[in-house]
Every structure is written in structure tokens, then in C-alpha cells.
Subunit: 265 residues, 4 copies
């Protein structure tokens, strides 16, 4: 089995320069480590806690930047989509359309994403059981597309708290589709700061190891050269300077996990 | 204080005839009981568990039927909206635009609904704490609209289960906006039937009483003359024939609650 | 149906004088209101968050005080028991032995309490579903005692938080045993203050109304003349001076609920 | 750092012969693997779902068998204690006294166990947050004993379901006390079979890997030569014949984890 691929980038696209710098650094790092790389960035933060939060640079400016990243660094690029009508335009520029967790039951969005033929990364809703993802899968497959990724990013656990049920990685893997572990949003504390979501960056390595040991096809880790001054998800992004060390350790667990696969049948 | 208003109707719009029959019966009932009535029906079930589930008769056919209900029975009408672009067209026909719980953090949808000037009924996401609704309110108010209703419909509690935290009714009421209790979706068992959501109709009176005793501005109860053969939400809809008895009892609790209001300030 | 009985008293027994004063006041109040009264107080707080917390005056001193309360005021008295060996001695002095929620699966304790022939009040564990109480009931009935009360006091909901699933009142009532709602511990925030448990006294009337409207045989409300200076449960006890007003309102809901019983059969 | 120790044995002590056979097999296996071994078995199942369930062979017969296991195989032995008065007698025969999760807030039990001077293994209550264990630790340390183990065995997640929050392993490790992961009870479905608890044995390797990758001092795995015919916990025990393969894989993750420790500060 192949090593995990890394889906990474800053939470929000800040500027063309910033995107290229981040992609350059991450692409070089993944090249060194011999792992696949998907550049991820959102040009529109459509479900911020508050309207006062910055929304990002927008679709028209953002999509060409993603395409430039793809071309220049030879990596795949991913962005999230929030309305059915955005899927086709986004698909002209990116390789993977991501369905946000809150929207994982929106049939039209799933179908529109599926119809582009691009890979669809469905994040498991915080309100869904792992086995409920079969319904989301069914909607995409029913629209003729079986290029699907499933991403775990935590389940509601009381108020303002998420928990990762690690059994869910195995349950979702039993569908046959590749499973991604999103270590960044799993350590989010939704609504935990009143007008914004808090986070616990210190648990990223803890949870990422656990997931990697079980065996995942991909890891999703948002990163930034200066998370504490990033426009969003600062408390849960990993500083860029720590990514190499983190990934090297995770790769050693990944090699072991791939050599001794679990099958929960 | 006024008695609670009833937001009611079948889960999905089935046909013009069915809509008029249901609205006729419910409007007459609410007239008898002296309570406000809002006819509710969805012309599009956008987040069904499965693609194979029926989606409804669609926006173009559905909206004029709602307008006809309004005109013929003199009641308000409500429908849910799933995309920003649907808000303005729907607003031409209905009085209240409802934001589905799953979409309660989608800024564009909240803002587009707000921009119509119509009342916006925001259902609390299953993944939100009651106090998190301040963010949703802020998005609507920030768009210049303070005609807001807040609806409780349950919070994620483990897998395939919802729980109503009744404290949340008081917490949401402390915002100053009217609070609605959705007794139908609170007894839903999301994903509980594999390809569909289950429900526990027998708990509708239990939970509706509890909410009414605390004090609510509105009750949301889906109903159907034959729930077990309805196209959706059958297990949690109340048979039409039981609505009068249910509401009469709830109104006696409502009178008492309004005479002895709680203020958790 | 009879009005609810009140199980009340201070969280911990502080002294003979304090116990008699509290019992005097509460007994007079319940007499005025025409409701049954059970005096409740713990002589030993066996599961405090911290060892540094005060444990109470102890069994040897405490039991005779409860007996004196019973004799002087003609009320029933209740205390909680924490070990099988404590059941028989306590039963010589009290009418109701209460099984703490944490201990609701301890077979020996349930059986020893049952063996005394006294009424056994089983608090539903925070980790149990309402239907799991059938097992606890079975242990007591199996020991030859069917004088059982079932008490709802909240279910674990994420960390340091409880939620009352009001459906559980109906589910537990369907066993045929009287159901008590514990409004005091339902608003506890277990461990929420680090070395102690916090509480939200302001939600006592909210939740007690909801429960009363569904229909309960008893209400459990801890009270103190000065909760903020009480040795335990201060944040969730109701000031004694507010009890009359609270109970009068709850009784009006109780009358209505008893006149229109729910049967979820 | 040392490899994890294994705490293992059948859920319930069935007979002297069975105990010696199991201990022989497990002790030989741990010897082969070069890991510490603690034989675990309960002579009394004090919190079974139902009174009809078998309770075990009892303390008087059980303790000498544990002592014989210790002497014959040179391993440590562990049993759980349910009443303060049982701690001193048990301590004469065993090395580790285990506080059951339901009893993790019972001060007298913690103090009595501490007073024996034996190691005290405190299981985290299903109703506790990881940080709440500081209170339990404080009670044991306050009684003069700092030989403490902390065991994760799942947290209540809705009804009849547990979830392991893997962050809790790191949080508990930050106390400085050794952390054990109980893979057997973590896959229990409490009350899930009506009169008994269900289980999902297939997730033992999944969760044990995740925990081992984070880094634990011990693993707790109940095992039986024929789990489906065992007197308790059959659905979540690992067949004895699969233990070697499971442990070998887990040890490879353990070596990696110990070579690259996480410190969440």
C-alpha cells in the first residue's frame, strides 16, 4: 500500500504570493518525503462563526491561483464548495471538490460535485455516524462518480466539543473508499471562543498518530507559517516549521500500519 | 402574552389538492382554538438520507401552491430554503423563510434570507449549543433584518439520536427573539433506519408539553392524515385526527406558562 | 392522581439544629401546599469531587437526627447509602434508602437496600439509558421488594455537562414505578469547577416545569437558607425563601398534568 | 522507555484450573514477547447488568487462586474491589487493586485502596472527563499512596455507547502517572443487549493500535480460549489464540511510539 498522501495548506487563501509560498514549501517537503501532495486552501469561508469574520478572497480570484499552484508545483489542488452552482466552475481549476461536513447531507451539492467527474472528498458531518456515510456515498455514486474520499473530522460530543471515534476510520474504510483523517478540524472547539471557534493544536500529533496507526489513505493538516496571526483556524493549525518533523514521525507509523493492515470485515 | 402559534403541515408538499385540504383542516382548527397558524410544507427535500428518497414537487410548482394557501385561508406560509439564490424567489410567495438546521452556519444563506425582509426562522443546528445561535442571529441582524424566529429541534447525542436540552429554550429566549419548539424533528432518529430516518411519534406530546410549560412562542408539528403512508417523516408526524386533542392540552399548559413566565435573564 | 410529593432538604446535614430548622420550614410549607413531604439530607458525602471537600457529620450522628425529624414533623425521611453494610442500620431510622446515581449498577447495594423492605429510590446513572433502569428494578424486585422510586438526574453529555432527556420520564414511568425528577442535580456541572462541581440554579425552575408538565410522582429539590455559603451543591440549590413561589407554580402545572395524563404505552 | 505491560486474563474467574491454564498461557506469551505481565481476573462481578447474571466464585475462593497464580508464574496479579472493606483482605493476595470505573468517585474506596500501599489502578468513570481524574488521584495521593495507574475505558456517548477520546490518553499522561488503555471495555456496548452488555470485539485491534501509537504504559485486554461461551464479556473478549499476533503487532507500534514520545505539556 502507498504511504498516506498529505492534503495541506493554509485554512484560507490570503493572497497569490502567500499561496505560492505555502505550496512551494509543502510541495518540496512532500517531494522529500516521497508522499503525494494535495494543496488545499479555501477562497471563501462560507460558514464562519460570525459575519464579522473575514470571508476570503473569493472564487474568481481564488480559482486561478489554485490552478497556478497545480501547474507550477505539479501537485493536485482541492477546494471546498458550498453551492451546487459552484461545482462546475471550481472543477475547471481543481482536482478534488470537498463537501464541507455541515453540508454532507445536501443532495444537490453532492450530485453537482459528482457530476463534474472530479474526485469528491466528503467530510463526515459532525452529526452523522460513520455508517451514515453510506448515504452520502450513494448519492455521489448514483450520480455516476465513484472517485470518492471520505474524511473524518470529529463528531459532536456535548456542546462546543468534538470527539474522534477512531472506530469510524475502520467503519468508513470498510466501504472500500479511501479514508482521510483531518487532524486540524478534529481539534477544533466549535463556537468555543464565542464569536469564533477555538482549537487545541497540541492534540494534532496525538490524534494524527492514532489515525495513522489504524491506517489512512490521507492526512489533512492545515498549516501556516504563523498560525497565531492567520485569518482563521489559528488555534488548530500546525506551524509550517513543525510539519517536517510531524510528517516524518507519522510516516514511520504509516509504514508499519500499511505492513500490518487491519480488516474489520 | 399571546398563545403559541402553530407552524404545521405535512412534511412534504404532495399535490395542490393535498396542500389545500391540509391547510383547510389546520386553518379551521387553529381558528377554533384562537391561535395563529402558519402553514408549513417543503416543496423540495434537499437533505434526504438517500438519493432514492422522493424529493418533492419542486420550487416552481410548490411556491404558487403556498401562495394559494395563504390567500385562500388567510394564514401565513413558511418554507425552507437551501441555497442563497432561492431566497428571493421564495420570498415572493411566503412569509417566513426557514433555515434548515444543517445549514444554520451558512452565512450566504442566512444573509440572502435576511435580505428579503421576510421573517427568518433559524433552526438550531444539531451540532450547535443554544448560545451558538447568537452568531446566526448576528448574521441576519447584520444584514438588516431582525424578524427572526429561533427553533429548537434537538442536539446530536451519540449516534443516530437527538436530545432536547430544555434549558436551551430559556437560553435562546434570553436573546429576545421568539422561540419555536419543533416537536416533530426532535423525535427523529437521524439515519436510524439505514436508508432513512426513523422517529418516535409517541414522544411528541411528551416533549411538546415540556417545551410549552417552559414557554414558547410557537410550536412546529408536522402532521398528515395518514403518516404511515406519507412520503417522508412518517414515523414522527402526528396523525391529523389527533391534532385537536393534542393542541387543546398544550394550550392549557401554554396559558399557565404565559401567566407565570420564567426569566433566566 | 395525587399531587407530586417533595423530596427536599439541604445537600448535607450540617447540625441537628440546622436539620430541624430546615425540616420545620419545609414541612410547614408542604403542609400549607397540601403535598407529601420527604426530608432529605446526606450525613456523608461519599463521592465528592475532592478529598478536601467536607464529608458531613457521619452516619452515627446523622441517622438519629433524621429519626428526630421524622418524629417531630411527621414526615418521611430519606438518605443515601453507599455500601451494602450501611443499608440495614440506615433502614432503622429512615423511610427511603436512596441509591446514588454512580452506584445504580452495584448489585450488592441494590439488593441490600431491597432487603430492608424500605422504599428504594434508584437514581438513574449518568451513564445509563432510561430503559437500562429495568435492570436495576429487576435487582430490587428480585430481592423481594417492589417499593421502588426511579429518579432522573441527568445523563452525561460531553464533558462536565449533563442533559435531561425528558423522554426518559415517560420511558421510566412506563415501568409502573413512580418517577421523581431531581431538579438540583440535573443542573449540576460535574467537575466543572476543577476541584468541585458547578451548577446553574437558574435552570431549576425551567427543568422542573418541563418535568412537572410531563407528570411526575415527586420532585427532588435541594434547598438551603443561604446556598452560596452551604457546604456543598451551593451553585445548584434553591434558596429556601424561593421555595414557596417555585412550588406554587409547579403545583399548578402538576394539577394540569395529572388531569391530562400522557401514556406512551 | 519500557514496552507496554499487559494486563490480561478472563473477565471472570471460572475455576482454579481455568485460572492456572490462562495464566500459564499468558505468562508464557508475555515472556516470549519480553513484556511485563499482570494477571487479571474478577472473582466477583458486582455490577452486572442483571441479577440473573453469574456473579463469580467469590472473594474467599478467588483471592488464594490469584496468589497461587502469582507464585507459580512470577507475574503480578490484579483484581477489582467494590467496597472499602474488601481492600485490605484483597491486598494480602494481589499487587494491584483496581477501582472500577463506576466507582471512580467513591472516596472511601479510593482511600481504602490507597491505604493498603498496593498499586491502585483507577479506571476513568464513563461520566468523567480526563482532567477530572486529578480529583481521583488527589484522593489516593492524599491517603499517602502514589503508586497509581490510570486506565481509559471509554466515555458515555449517547445511550448504550462508549467512545474513546484519544486526547484523554495524553491528558492523563500529563499527570505523570502511567496510563493504561483498556481495549476490552472500550468496545463494550453497555446495556446494549437488554439484560447484558454487548460488545464489538472486531474493534479491539483498531483502538489498541491507536492507543499504542500515542504511547501507553499498559494495555488491558481480556481474553478467553472460547469467548462466545465465557460467563461474561464474551462479545468483547479476544480469543486467546489471537493474542500473540495482536500483541506482536502492537509491540511494533509501541517501539515506534516509545522512540518518538509525544509531550503535550
Amino acid at each position: 500500500a502507498k504511504p498516506f498522501a498529505l492534503i495541506a495548506g493554509p485554512c484560507a487563501m490570503e493572497s497569490r504570493e502567500h499561496a505560492l509560498e505555502m505550496a512551494d514549501a509543502l510541495s518540496a517537503l512532500c517531494g522529500d518525503l516521497g508522499i503525494g501532495f494535495v494543496y488545499k486552501s479555501s477562497y471563501d469561508k462560507a460558514n464562519r462563526s460570525s459575519s464579522a469574520s473575514d470571508r476570503g478572497i473569493g472564487m474568481e480570484k481564488g480559482l486561478p491561483i489554485l490552478a497556478e499552484v497545480r501547474e507550477r508545483f505539479g501537485c493536485a489542488v482541492l477546494t471546498d464548495v458550498h453551492e451546487p452552482g459552484h461545482c462546475a466552475p471550481a472543477a475547471e481549476f481543481v482536482d478534488i471538490l470537498q463537501i464541507p461536513a455541515f453540508l454532507s447531507r445536501q443532495t444537490d451539492l453532492l450530485v453537482a460535485a459528482a457530476a463534474t467527474g472530479k474526485t469528491v472528498n466528503i467530510k463526515k458531518g459532525q452529526f452523522l455516524a460513520p455508517w451514515d456515510m453510506n448515504s452520502a456515498i450513494g448519492k455521489v455514486v448514483g450520480a455516476g462518480n465513484s472517485n470518492i474520499l471520505l474524511t473524518e473530522r470529529g463528531t459532536s460530543f456535548g456542546y462546543n466539543t468534538l470527539v474522534n471515534d477512531m472506530r469510524g476510520l475502520a467503519t468508513m474504510a470498510s466501504t472500500g473508499y479511501p479514508v482521510v483523517f483531518d487532524a486540524t478540524h478534529s481539534v477544533q472547539q466549535p463556537g468555543g471562543l464565542g464569536n469564533a471557534s477555538g482549537g487545541q493544536r497540541e492534540f494534532v500529533p496525538v490524534l494524527a498518530r492514532a489515525a495513522t496507526a489504524i491506517g489512512v489513505a490521507g492526512l489533512f493538516i492545515e498549516t501556516h507559517e504563523d498560525p497565531d496571526n492567520a485569518p482563521c483556524d489559528g488555534p488548530n493549525m500546525v506551524p509550517l516549521a513543525q510539519m517536517r518533523g510531524l510528517l516524518e514521525t507519522l510516516l514511520s507509523f504509516d509504514r508499519l500500519a500499511k505492513a500490518t493492515p487491519i480488516n474489520i470485515g
